[in-house]
């Protein structure tokens, strides 16, 4: 057995270590996920004015600050007793802000953080011996996705066309957020009871203009099928089967003209292969090789899956208020109440209603002491402060991370675009997940995670236009009155979705309206959680176990020094490790005024 450790896993937010045991066949037999940094975040909110949370907690993460800020605003709405009266137009403004943040974050992940792995030299080694098609595919991978300052065999490689084009779009999306959020990162407009800024008609015009510019990028680079056609036939398809059939028909048309037709191995964007179409066809063995008859694929559907469907759930808290419900919203996010619904989807793809009271957390493998299996709002955390005990090399039975292990009814849960789209029964992703399951694959894998992220970007972009042009009324009310006295001896729960998954903030206050406890439970804590007290590994750990470390199912033999599939699997969750680790409580289990961690 060989230990292969990636530390740090770069091109993510924060600092993550993935340590694996790999057998002689190059298959991962054990995996540990370690969050490496401890900041002590919630503690600074203790005894403070709770209203500061919406600005302060977004400093947990500069990639998804809007999400933290809005999770905090939701918790504060309830804390101040105004959740049922936040004006509809404030809710729409929050939706717009979040939608832009999600799209910007997804685009950054797809093109800047995740995409460069497609230019890994392992794919050159596998693909180019396969003749003209393989060589042409490698040329596209390198030409589109290579990152900056990239070198191969000592030669400088220019940054990829898609990579380069995506950076100005990210910039543009942040400008759009600034129009209604002041600045970005760390927009400033979330506040209990509403929104600090009332967007004007001119702002709506600007947002529409930004929208069409971003959509120009999408149609030039990402998706060559006309956007409306895509939405109509996937997201709005009559059934999961018809959505998958539409995708396959589109791809088959491209394959026919590019391989069999006169177009001889032309996989360029000009030939109709947007980045999404290209990855949809070549990323998957089932879609690309089995269903489309391609001579090769990256086989990402063979990586990052769950071998035991009884040990994993998919969890969504739900996000985006429904403008048609008018003023106010339900802080419990009941099923169907939000545009992206809450829900639990089992490993066998069965939907169940979500209930926030069923969350517990384990610390048996984390650098903390204390009780097990407590609800986040009751949690306690005593960090191990002995430097000699902070070690990452003592195996899977030891304490090995600063993240806790959240569980839902005792189950590890994957969170993120895939979970959200399964919960909302989005036809394309649901159809693909079923197809993988029916053909003996894990429905969740590196490929479906990435397809879900791409599809979610499209769906939210589609809805964003409606919020901007139809739902927002610049003459509407933007806030209701709040003052600090309304937050005495109170509690609040903010359930929301960050781009990378379910995000919850819990807050409670004392008789002076000062914060007693403040606690975020964040997406990467779910995805990169360690083992729990029953020894069940977290989602990313499960996804690594059983994965072959090298490109295309180790087709060129085992090379421990370039474990590209560890990189793909880890990054497919879009980790945000600054979020995953927050705080500690030094003062003991039951001391008053203690902040807790997840």
């Amino acid at each position: 057995m060989v230990n292969v450790t990636v530390d740090p896993l770069t091109r993510i937010e924060g600092h993550l270590r993935l340590s694996t045991e790999v057998n002689a066949e190059g298959v991962i037999t054990d995996a540990r996920s370690s969050c490496l940094l401890f900041r002590g975040f919630e503690r600074i909110l203790q005894n403070q004015d709770p209203r500061d949370a919406a600005l302060l907690t977004q400093r947990i993460c500069g990639v998804c600050p809007t999400s933290h800020s809005l999770a905090a605003a939701n918790a504060l709405d309830q804390l101040f007793g105004v959740a049922d009266s936040v004006p509809k137009d404030a809710l729409v403004a929050r939706n717009i802000n979040q939608a832009l943040n999600t799209i910007a974050s997804h685009a950054t992940h797809i093109y800047v953080l995740w995409g460069p792995d497609l230019a890994n030299p392992a794919y050159r080694d596998v693909l180019t011996p396969l003749g003209e098609t393989g060589t042409a595919v490698w040329k596209e991978l390198l030409g589109r996705f290579a990152p900056i300052s990239y070198r191969l065999d000592g030669n400088t490689i220019p940054a990829g066309s898609s990579y380069l084009a995506a950076i100005p779009e990210k910039k543009r999306l942040h400008e759009a957020i600034a129009v209604i959020g002041g600045k970005m990162p760390h927009q400033v407009t979330s506040y209990p009871g509403g929104y600090t800024y009332k967007p004007t008609i001119a702002d709506i015009g600007k947002l529409s203009s930004y929208y069409s510019q971003v959509m120009d990028f999408v149609s030039s680079y990402t998706l060559r099928v006309p956007f409306e056609t895509w939405i109509e036939n996937t997201y709005k398809a009559s059934s999961p089967q018809s959505a998958v059939s539409f995708l396959l028909d589109q791809l088959r048309g491209l394959v026919d003209s590019s391989i069999s037709g006169s177009n001889g191995n032309n996989f360029s964007r000009e030939a109709g292969w947007g980045d999404a179409e290209f990855y949809a066809a070549f990323g998957s063995e089932l879609v690309g090789e089995t269903l489309l008859g391609l001579p090769a694929s990256l086989k990402h559907d063979r990586t990052g899956g769950y071998s035991d469907s009884s040990k994993i759930n998919f969890l969504a808290y739900g996000a985006f208020y429904r403008p048609e419900n008018g003023d106010g919203y339900d802080p419990n996010s009941p099923a169907g109440d939000r545009f992206q619904t809450s829900g639990i989807v089992t490993g066998n793809l069965e939907y169940k209603n979500f209930d926030a009271s069923k969350i517990t957390e384990s610390i048996s493998h984390s650098f903390y002491e204390g009780s097990e299996e407590l609800h986040p709002s009751k949690g306690e955390t005593n960090p191990i402060g002995d430097p000699a005990e902070i070690r990452y090399d003592r195996g899977s039975d030891s304490r090995y991370t600063w993240a806790k292990a959240p569980r839902y009814e005792g189950m590890p849960c994957e969170v993120g675009p895939l979970s959200r789209l399964l919960a909302m029964k989005e036809p394309l992703v649901t159809g693909l997940a079923r197809a993988f399951k029916d053909n003996g694959y894990s429905p969740a894998n590196t490929y479906t995670r990435m397809i879900a992220r791409i599809q979610e970007t499209a769906i939210i972009a589609n809805e964003l236009l409606k919020w901007v042009t139809e739902d927002y009324d610049p003459n509407g009310k933007i806030s209701v009155h709040t003052d600090l006295s309304m937050a005495k001896d109170s509690e609040g729960m903010g359930l929301w979705e960050a781009p990378r998954g379910a995000l919850g903030h819990w807050v409670s206050t004392d008789s002076n309206s000062k914060v007693v406890s403040y606690q975020p439970v964040v997406p990467s804590t779910w995805n990169f959680s360690p083992r729990d007290s029953a020894g069940t590994p977290g989602p990313a750990e499960q996804a690594l176990i059983g994965t072959r470390i090298n490109a295309v199912e180790n087709s060129l033999g085992v090379d421990y020094s370039n474990p590209v599939n560890i990189l793909h699997v880890g990054r497919s969750y879009d980790p945000c490790i600054a979020c995953a680790v927050h705080t500690l409580d030094l003062t003991g289990k039951n001391a008053p005024g203690i902040l807790r961690i997840v």
Partner: protein, 394 residues
């Protein structure tokens, strides 16, 4: 040449940037902004570049990646072309480069092309780079630095190595400059013991460099996040030799190590809501359009040119979007500004404290601000602007 003709030619031609003295250059470049400066003067910049290539090594400490996100929002048309114009090579950056740390049975594997740990060690050993730090550095627990490990070592150790061989250091963002939110007052602040690069809060003897006994020139570019113009224009000035390191520091940087070019203005003075302040018209509920002073705005004590420069390509800024300035560029942030929505919080009430303005460079020493209690801090940034170097503005 006829005088009138000469006047016309001045108006129609670009000023010759590179013959300008340092102060004029900094002021002019600052007013133009990074996009216009790097875009308009591309050819001149190429000609003025003295060295072939400037290597940048960017380390991520305890941070949120917001400053990297902010950097990606800068430049013309983007940050990559801006760096190209400056012939600056981003030799190491965790979020943007291809590599990652790869260890096989504990030993570094592969090469610099895919293994970022081998790459960063090699770059540090070669020397001849500008070190850029994003994020604070934990010293705890017990001075071990083990609250943050990366690549089988503490970040403190990596930082020590990288700082020791750097030509100069840019501390980008309030966390790297002063500890920022990581160093905020709490019951655990002593345990985690977070440090900025050359300061912790306003204490110029409490930075990680001082803890390590390493002496390097440091420029602080605070902000939560730092504005991309502040980062790119400072880099431009350093690379183009318009800030000589360290000879020019006393005249170019303020008492907290910040370039005066961007951190001398008050957010208040050019605030888009300034007229309401003058007319005593204040918002007392969010969602309005008047002065935010009574909602806790700290614009009068925030030394940054946000009101002129604005954010995200000149789109907006905090106060414009109805949210009080929280003075995120100040060394005591966030304690010196909170509670954010309370007038006079952080021990400062700008209405009564106008008399502390009128900077004459005679500071009373940074140590008088202990940064330990948000209740009792008295905070007057202006009078301390030059105290770090104990030298007045030239």
């Amino acid at each position: 040449m006829n005088k009138n003709t000469s006047d016309i030619s001045v108006k129609t031609e670009k000023p010759d940037f590179f013959k300008m003295d340092r102060r004029t250059f900094l002021k002019t470049a600052c007013l133009l902004g990074a996009s216009a400066f790097l875009g308009t003067y591309r050819t001149e910049i190429v000609r003025a570049l003295e060295t072939a290539e400037t290597k940048l090594v960017w380390l991520h400490g305890a941070e949120c990646t917001g400053c990297t996100e902010s950097l990606l929002n800068g430049g013309d048309p983007n940050v990559l072309s801006a760096l190209q114009a400056l012939d600056a090579k981003l030799a190491y950056h965790e979020t943007l480069l291809a590599g990652q740390g790869i260890f096989v049975d504990g030993q570094p594997a592969n090469t610099t092309e895919l293994n970022s740990e081998i790459l960063v060690d090699e770059l540090i050993e070669e020397g001849n780079y500008i070190l850029i730090v994003e994020g604070a550095i934990p010293n705890g627990p017990e001075g071990s630095g083990r609250f943050f490990m990366v690549g089988n070592r503490t970040f403190k150790e990596l930082f020590a190595k990288a700082a020791g061989n750097a030509d100069a250091i840019l501390a980008v963002g309030t966390c790297a400059a002063y500890g920022g939110i990581n160093s905020a007052n709490s019951a655990i602040a002593q345990l985690t013991d977070y440090r900025g690069v050359a300061f912790t809060k306003n204490d110029s003897s409490g930075g990680m460099l001082q803890e390590l006994g390493v002496n390097k020139p440091v420029i602080n570019i605070p902000g939560c996040p730092a504005h991309p113009d502040w980062i790119l224009l400072t880099l431009s000035a350093v690379i183009l030799g318009k800030i000589r390191i360290p000879e020019d520091f006393p005249s170019v940087l303020d008492g907290y190590g910040r370039p005066k070019a961007y951190f001398s203005e008050d957010v208040h003075d050019e605030c888009p809501r300034h007229d309401y302040y003058e007319r005593d018209e204040f918002d007392t509920e969010i969602g309005g359009y008047k002065c935010l002073f009574k909602l806790g705005c700290k614009g009068k004590r925030a030394n940054a040119d946000c009101s002129i420069r604005k954010w995200n390509g000149g789109t907006s800024m905090c106060v414009q979007a109805g949210s009080p300035c929280i003075a995120c560029v100040e060394p005591g942030f966030p304690d010196s500004s909170r509670p954010f929505y309370t007038q006079g919080s952080g021990g400062f009430d700008g209405r009564e404290s106008d008399d502390i303005k009128g900077d004459d460079g005679k500071g009373d020493g940074v140590d008088s601000y202990d940064g330990t209690s948000s209740e009792s801090d008295s905070y007057d940034t202006d009078s301390r602007r030059d105290s770090y170097y104990r030298i007045g503005d030239d």
